[in-house]
Protein backbone atom coordinates (compact mmCIF):
# COMPACT_ATOMS: atom_id res chain seq x y z
CA UNK A 1 0.00 0.00 0.00
CA UNK A 2 1.47 3.37 -0.96
CA UNK A 3 2.06 5.92 1.77
CA UNK A 4 -0.54 8.57 2.42
CA UNK A 5 1.86 11.41 1.66
CA UNK A 6 2.88 9.79 -1.63
CA UNK A 7 -0.77 9.30 -2.54
CA UNK A 8 -1.53 12.97 -1.86
CA UNK A 9 1.43 14.12 -3.97
CA UNK A 10 0.33 11.88 -6.86
CA UNK A 11 -3.20 13.31 -6.67
CA UNK A 12 -1.88 16.90 -6.73
CA UNK A 13 0.49 16.22 -9.63
CA UNK A 14 -2.41 14.63 -11.56
CA UNK A 15 -4.55 17.73 -10.95
CA UNK A 16 -1.71 20.04 -12.06
CA UNK A 17 -1.13 18.02 -15.25
CA UNK A 18 -4.84 17.88 -16.10
CA UNK A 19 -5.33 21.63 -15.53
CA UNK A 20 -1.96 22.74 -16.84
CA UNK A 21 -1.51 20.53 -19.90
CA UNK A 22 -4.53 18.36 -20.76
CA UNK A 23 -6.94 21.32 -20.55
CA UNK A 24 -5.47 22.73 -23.77
CA UNK A 25 -6.96 19.79 -25.65
CA UNK A 26 -10.46 20.26 -24.20
CA UNK A 27 -13.42 20.70 -26.51
CA UNK A 28 -14.23 24.37 -27.06
CA UNK A 29 -17.86 23.73 -28.00
CA UNK A 30 -20.47 25.24 -25.66
CA UNK A 31 -21.38 22.93 -22.77
CA UNK A 32 -24.80 21.30 -22.41
CA UNK A 33 -26.43 24.25 -20.63
CA UNK A 34 -25.00 26.90 -23.00
CA UNK A 35 -25.95 24.82 -26.04
CA UNK A 36 -29.53 24.55 -24.77
CA UNK A 37 -29.50 28.26 -23.92
CA UNK A 38 -28.33 29.13 -27.45
CA UNK A 39 -30.83 26.90 -29.23
CA UNK A 40 -33.90 27.71 -27.10
CA UNK A 41 -33.26 31.43 -26.67
CA UNK A 42 -32.49 31.48 -22.95
CA UNK A 43 -29.12 33.01 -23.82
CA UNK A 44 -30.80 36.24 -24.94
CA UNK A 45 -31.06 37.33 -21.31
CA UNK A 46 -27.41 36.59 -20.45
CA UNK A 47 -25.53 39.50 -18.89
CA UNK A 48 -21.83 40.17 -19.13
CA UNK A 49 -19.91 38.71 -16.22
CA UNK A 50 -18.91 41.26 -13.59
CA UNK A 51 -15.31 40.03 -13.63
CA UNK A 52 -15.03 39.53 -17.41
CA UNK A 53 -12.15 42.00 -17.47
CA UNK A 54 -10.14 40.20 -14.79
CA UNK A 55 -6.72 38.91 -15.85
CA UNK A 56 -7.71 35.22 -15.69
CA UNK A 57 -11.25 35.53 -17.11
CA UNK A 58 -12.19 32.67 -19.42
CA UNK A 59 -9.28 30.45 -18.25
CA UNK A 60 -6.54 32.41 -19.97
CA UNK A 61 -3.97 35.01 -19.03
CA UNK A 62 -4.53 38.30 -20.82
CA UNK A 63 -1.52 39.03 -23.00
CA UNK A 64 -0.31 35.43 -23.22
CA UNK A 65 -0.99 32.99 -26.05
CA UNK A 66 -3.82 30.50 -25.62
CA UNK A 67 -1.76 27.43 -24.76
CA UNK A 68 0.52 29.03 -22.17
CA UNK A 69 -2.26 31.21 -20.79
CA UNK A 70 -4.66 28.32 -20.26
CA UNK A 71 -1.95 26.22 -18.65
CA UNK A 72 -1.01 28.98 -16.22
CA UNK A 73 -4.66 29.74 -15.46
CA UNK A 74 -5.22 26.05 -14.77
CA UNK A 75 -2.25 25.78 -12.41
CA UNK A 76 -3.29 28.95 -10.56
CA UNK A 77 -6.86 27.62 -10.22
CA UNK A 78 -5.64 24.26 -8.90
CA UNK A 79 -3.41 25.92 -6.30
CA UNK A 80 -6.09 28.37 -5.14
CA UNK A 81 -8.66 25.53 -4.82
CA UNK A 82 -6.06 23.44 -2.99
CA UNK A 83 -5.30 26.26 -0.56
CA UNK A 84 -8.94 27.03 0.19
CA UNK A 85 -9.82 23.34 0.52
CA UNK A 86 -6.86 22.65 2.83
CA UNK A 87 -7.87 25.63 4.96
CA UNK A 88 -11.47 24.44 5.19
CA UNK A 89 -10.31 20.90 5.94
CA UNK A 90 -8.15 22.12 8.82
CA UNK A 91 -11.00 24.27 10.09
CA UNK A 92 -13.65 21.55 10.24
CA UNK A 93 -11.71 18.33 10.86
CA UNK A 94 -12.09 16.42 14.12
CA UNK A 95 -9.38 17.59 16.48
CA UNK A 96 -6.81 14.93 17.33
CA UNK A 97 -7.31 13.28 20.71
CA UNK A 98 -4.16 14.93 22.08
CA UNK A 99 -5.19 18.44 21.03
CA UNK A 100 -5.93 20.97 23.71
CA UNK A 101 -9.70 21.35 24.11
CA UNK A 102 -10.89 24.14 21.82
CA UNK A 103 -14.04 26.16 22.19
CA UNK A 104 -16.54 24.33 20.05
CA UNK A 105 -19.22 26.64 18.71
Amino acid sequence: MIRTRTFYVVLLVAALLVAGVLSYYASTSPDGLMHVADTTGIASSQKTHATDGSPLAGYGVSGLDHRLGKGIAGVVGVLVCLGLGLGLGRLVRRPAATDAPSSDS
Partner: protein, 230 residues
Protein backbone atom coordinates in the same frame (compact mmCIF):
# COMPACT_ATOMS: atom_id res chain seq x y z
CA UNK B 1 -23.46 23.65 -16.31
CA UNK B 2 -22.32 26.99 -14.90
CA UNK B 3 -25.31 29.33 -14.97
CA UNK B 4 -24.25 32.84 -16.02
CA UNK B 5 -25.73 36.14 -14.80
CA UNK B 6 -29.10 37.05 -16.25
CA UNK B 7 -30.70 33.63 -16.88
CA UNK B 8 -32.68 33.73 -13.63
CA UNK B 9 -34.39 36.78 -12.09
CA UNK B 10 -33.27 38.47 -8.88
CA UNK B 11 -35.80 36.87 -6.48
CA UNK B 12 -34.91 33.37 -7.70
CA UNK B 13 -31.19 34.11 -7.46
CA UNK B 14 -31.72 35.46 -3.95
CA UNK B 15 -33.65 32.32 -3.00
CA UNK B 16 -30.96 29.97 -4.36
CA UNK B 17 -28.36 32.14 -2.63
CA UNK B 18 -30.15 31.56 0.67
CA UNK B 19 -30.42 27.82 0.01
CA UNK B 20 -26.69 27.73 -0.79
CA UNK B 21 -25.74 29.61 2.39
CA UNK B 22 -27.84 27.28 4.55
CA UNK B 23 -26.49 24.23 2.70
CA UNK B 24 -22.86 25.27 3.11
CA UNK B 25 -23.52 26.10 6.77
CA UNK B 26 -24.91 22.61 7.38
CA UNK B 27 -22.00 21.13 5.43
CA UNK B 28 -19.47 22.92 7.67
CA UNK B 29 -21.01 21.12 10.64
CA UNK B 30 -21.51 17.79 8.88
CA UNK B 31 -17.96 17.67 7.49
CA UNK B 32 -16.65 17.41 11.08
CA UNK B 33 -17.85 13.81 11.17
CA UNK B 34 -16.18 13.01 7.85
CA UNK B 35 -12.71 14.51 8.19
CA UNK B 36 -10.05 13.55 10.69
CA UNK B 37 -6.41 14.59 10.97
CA UNK B 38 -5.32 12.11 8.31
CA UNK B 39 -8.02 12.74 5.71
CA UNK B 40 -8.44 16.53 6.13
CA UNK B 41 -5.92 17.33 3.34
CA UNK B 42 -8.19 15.41 0.94
CA UNK B 43 -10.65 18.34 1.06
CA UNK B 44 -8.01 20.49 -0.63
CA UNK B 45 -6.78 17.82 -3.00
CA UNK B 46 -10.24 16.83 -4.18
CA UNK B 47 -11.15 20.51 -4.73
CA UNK B 48 -7.98 20.92 -6.81
CA UNK B 49 -8.72 17.72 -8.74
CA UNK B 50 -12.37 18.61 -9.45
CA UNK B 51 -11.33 22.09 -10.62
CA UNK B 52 -8.73 20.57 -12.95
CA UNK B 53 -11.09 17.97 -14.38
CA UNK B 54 -13.83 20.54 -14.95
CA UNK B 55 -11.47 22.34 -17.35
CA UNK B 56 -11.45 19.37 -19.70
CA UNK B 57 -14.60 19.54 -21.78
CA UNK B 58 -15.29 16.39 -23.78
CA UNK B 59 -17.39 16.47 -26.98
CA UNK B 60 -20.87 14.94 -26.77
CA UNK B 61 -21.89 15.56 -30.39
CA UNK B 62 -23.50 18.26 -32.52
CA UNK B 63 -21.21 21.10 -31.43
CA UNK B 64 -21.85 20.47 -27.77
CA UNK B 65 -19.51 19.51 -24.97
CA UNK B 66 -19.71 18.51 -21.36
CA UNK B 67 -17.34 18.32 -18.46
CA UNK B 68 -17.24 16.48 -15.17
CA UNK B 69 -19.32 18.20 -12.50
CA UNK B 70 -17.73 16.07 -9.81
CA UNK B 71 -20.46 15.96 -7.18
CA UNK B 72 -20.69 12.16 -7.02
CA UNK B 73 -16.91 11.84 -7.27
CA UNK B 74 -16.33 14.23 -4.38
CA UNK B 75 -19.05 12.59 -2.28
CA UNK B 76 -17.54 9.14 -2.82
CA UNK B 77 -14.01 10.30 -1.96
CA UNK B 78 -14.55 12.65 0.99
CA UNK B 79 -18.20 12.19 2.01
CA UNK B 80 -21.30 14.20 1.11
CA UNK B 81 -20.85 17.15 3.51
CA UNK B 82 -17.20 17.66 2.66
CA UNK B 83 -18.22 17.12 -0.97
CA UNK B 84 -20.56 20.12 -0.75
CA UNK B 85 -17.70 22.22 0.68
CA UNK B 86 -15.33 21.04 -2.06
CA UNK B 87 -17.81 21.88 -4.83
CA UNK B 88 -18.51 25.29 -3.27
CA UNK B 89 -14.79 26.11 -3.19
CA UNK B 90 -14.44 25.16 -6.86
CA UNK B 91 -17.50 27.16 -7.93
CA UNK B 92 -16.42 30.20 -5.90
CA UNK B 93 -12.94 30.21 -7.44
CA UNK B 94 -14.37 29.72 -10.95
CA UNK B 95 -16.82 32.61 -10.57
CA UNK B 96 -14.38 35.04 -8.94
CA UNK B 97 -11.12 34.34 -10.80
CA UNK B 98 -12.20 32.91 -14.13
CA UNK B 99 -15.57 34.60 -14.81
CA UNK B 100 -17.10 31.11 -15.15
CA UNK B 101 -20.58 31.07 -13.63
CA UNK B 102 -22.24 34.38 -12.80
CA UNK B 103 -21.59 36.16 -9.50
CA UNK B 104 -25.33 36.63 -8.94
CA UNK B 105 -25.74 32.98 -10.01
CA UNK B 106 -23.19 31.63 -7.50
CA UNK B 107 -25.98 30.51 -5.17
CA UNK B 108 -27.74 28.86 -8.10
CA UNK B 109 -24.59 27.05 -9.15
CA UNK B 110 -23.79 25.90 -5.61
CA UNK B 111 -27.39 24.70 -5.29
CA UNK B 112 -27.34 22.81 -8.60
CA UNK B 113 -23.82 21.37 -8.79
CA UNK B 114 -23.06 21.37 -5.06
CA UNK B 115 -26.24 20.47 -3.19
CA UNK B 116 -28.17 18.63 -5.93
CA UNK B 117 -25.14 17.06 -7.63
CA UNK B 118 -23.57 15.85 -4.39
CA UNK B 119 -26.90 14.99 -2.71
CA UNK B 120 -28.26 12.90 -5.57
CA UNK B 121 -24.86 11.36 -6.25
CA UNK B 122 -24.46 10.33 -2.61
CA UNK B 123 -28.04 9.00 -2.29
CA UNK B 124 -27.50 6.75 -5.32
CA UNK B 125 -24.09 5.63 -4.03
CA UNK B 126 -25.58 4.59 -0.66
CA UNK B 127 -28.48 2.80 -2.34
CA UNK B 128 -26.39 0.89 -4.88
CA UNK B 129 -23.72 0.07 -2.28
CA UNK B 130 -26.42 -1.56 -0.14
CA UNK B 131 -27.54 -3.73 -3.07
CA UNK B 132 -24.08 -4.90 -4.17
CA UNK B 133 -21.76 -7.44 -2.49
CA UNK B 134 -20.01 -6.05 0.59
CA UNK B 135 -16.56 -5.41 -0.84
CA UNK B 136 -14.70 -2.19 -1.56
CA UNK B 137 -14.82 -2.62 -5.34
CA UNK B 138 -18.63 -2.26 -5.17
CA UNK B 139 -18.06 1.46 -4.61
CA UNK B 140 -16.93 1.83 -8.24
CA UNK B 141 -20.26 0.96 -9.94
CA UNK B 142 -22.11 2.75 -7.14
CA UNK B 143 -20.18 5.99 -7.77
CA UNK B 144 -20.51 5.62 -11.54
CA UNK B 145 -24.28 5.25 -11.31
CA UNK B 146 -24.45 8.15 -8.85
CA UNK B 147 -22.49 10.27 -11.33
CA UNK B 148 -24.66 9.24 -14.29
CA UNK B 149 -27.90 10.07 -12.48
CA UNK B 150 -26.77 13.24 -10.69
CA UNK B 151 -26.07 15.16 -13.92
CA UNK B 152 -29.52 14.91 -15.59
CA UNK B 153 -31.17 15.49 -12.18
CA UNK B 154 -29.14 18.71 -11.78
CA UNK B 155 -30.20 19.66 -15.32
CA UNK B 156 -33.84 19.04 -14.39
CA UNK B 157 -33.34 21.14 -11.26
CA UNK B 158 -32.06 24.01 -13.42
CA UNK B 159 -35.20 23.70 -15.56
CA UNK B 160 -37.34 23.85 -12.42
CA UNK B 161 -35.56 27.05 -11.35
CA UNK B 162 -36.01 28.42 -14.87
CA UNK B 163 -39.73 27.63 -14.69
CA UNK B 164 -39.95 29.72 -11.51
CA UNK B 165 -37.65 32.60 -12.35
CA UNK B 166 -36.46 32.36 -15.95
CA UNK B 167 -35.99 35.76 -17.59
CA UNK B 168 -36.27 34.75 -21.28
CA UNK B 169 -39.71 33.84 -22.59
CA UNK B 170 -39.03 30.32 -23.81
CA UNK B 171 -41.32 27.24 -23.92
CA UNK B 172 -40.49 25.14 -20.85
CA UNK B 173 -41.07 21.76 -22.47
CA UNK B 174 -38.34 22.44 -25.03
CA UNK B 175 -35.92 23.48 -22.28
CA UNK B 176 -36.67 20.41 -20.16
CA UNK B 177 -36.31 17.95 -23.05
CA UNK B 178 -33.08 19.50 -24.32
CA UNK B 179 -31.55 19.86 -20.84
CA UNK B 180 -32.28 16.28 -19.82
CA UNK B 181 -31.32 14.87 -23.23
CA UNK B 182 -27.90 16.53 -23.41
CA UNK B 183 -27.14 16.00 -19.75
CA UNK B 184 -27.96 12.30 -19.94
CA UNK B 185 -25.12 12.07 -22.48
CA UNK B 186 -22.83 14.24 -20.34
CA UNK B 187 -23.76 12.02 -17.38
CA UNK B 188 -22.30 9.03 -19.22
CA UNK B 189 -18.97 10.87 -19.52
CA UNK B 190 -19.28 11.83 -15.84
CA UNK B 191 -19.80 8.14 -14.99
CA UNK B 192 -16.74 7.01 -16.97
CA UNK B 193 -14.42 9.61 -15.39
CA UNK B 194 -15.81 8.95 -11.91
CA UNK B 195 -15.38 5.18 -12.31
CA UNK B 196 -11.78 5.59 -13.53
CA UNK B 197 -10.80 7.81 -10.62
CA UNK B 198 -12.62 5.83 -7.92
CA UNK B 199 -11.33 2.48 -9.18
CA UNK B 200 -7.73 3.79 -9.14
CA UNK B 201 -8.08 5.03 -5.57
CA UNK B 202 -9.93 1.90 -4.39
CA UNK B 203 -7.13 -0.21 -5.89
CA UNK B 204 -4.35 1.73 -4.13
CA UNK B 205 -5.81 3.22 -0.93
CA UNK B 206 -9.39 2.01 -0.32
CA UNK B 207 -9.17 3.40 3.22
CA UNK B 208 -9.07 6.93 1.74
CA UNK B 209 -12.37 6.47 -0.10
CA UNK B 210 -15.10 7.66 2.27
CA UNK B 211 -17.79 5.56 0.57
CA UNK B 212 -15.66 2.42 0.95
CA UNK B 213 -14.98 2.77 4.68
CA UNK B 214 -17.99 0.79 5.97
CA UNK B 215 -16.99 -2.05 3.63
CA UNK B 216 -13.37 -1.96 4.85
CA UNK B 217 -14.47 -2.19 8.48
CA UNK B 218 -16.45 -5.27 7.53
CA UNK B 219 -13.50 -6.89 5.86
CA UNK B 220 -11.09 -6.29 8.73
CA UNK B 221 -13.56 -7.97 11.08
CA UNK B 222 -13.30 -11.15 9.06
CA UNK B 223 -9.51 -11.24 9.14
CA UNK B 224 -8.30 -12.55 12.46
CA UNK B 225 -4.57 -11.87 12.26
CA UNK B 226 -3.26 -8.75 13.99
CA UNK B 227 -0.89 -7.98 11.07
CA UNK B 228 -3.89 -7.36 8.81
CA UNK B 229 -3.93 -3.71 9.83
CA UNK B 230 -0.42 -3.08 8.52
Amino acid sequence: MHVPDGFLDAPTSLATGTVAVVGVGLALRGARRELDERTAPLAGLVAAFVFATQMVNFPVGAGTSGHLLGGALAAALVGPWTGVLVMSVVLLVQALLFADGGLTALGTNITLMGLVGVGVGWAVIVLVRALLPRRTSSVVPAAALGAAISVPVAAAAFTALFAVGGVADVPLGAVLTAMIGWHTLIGLGEAVITALVISSVVATRPDLVYAARPLLADRSLEIRTPEAVA
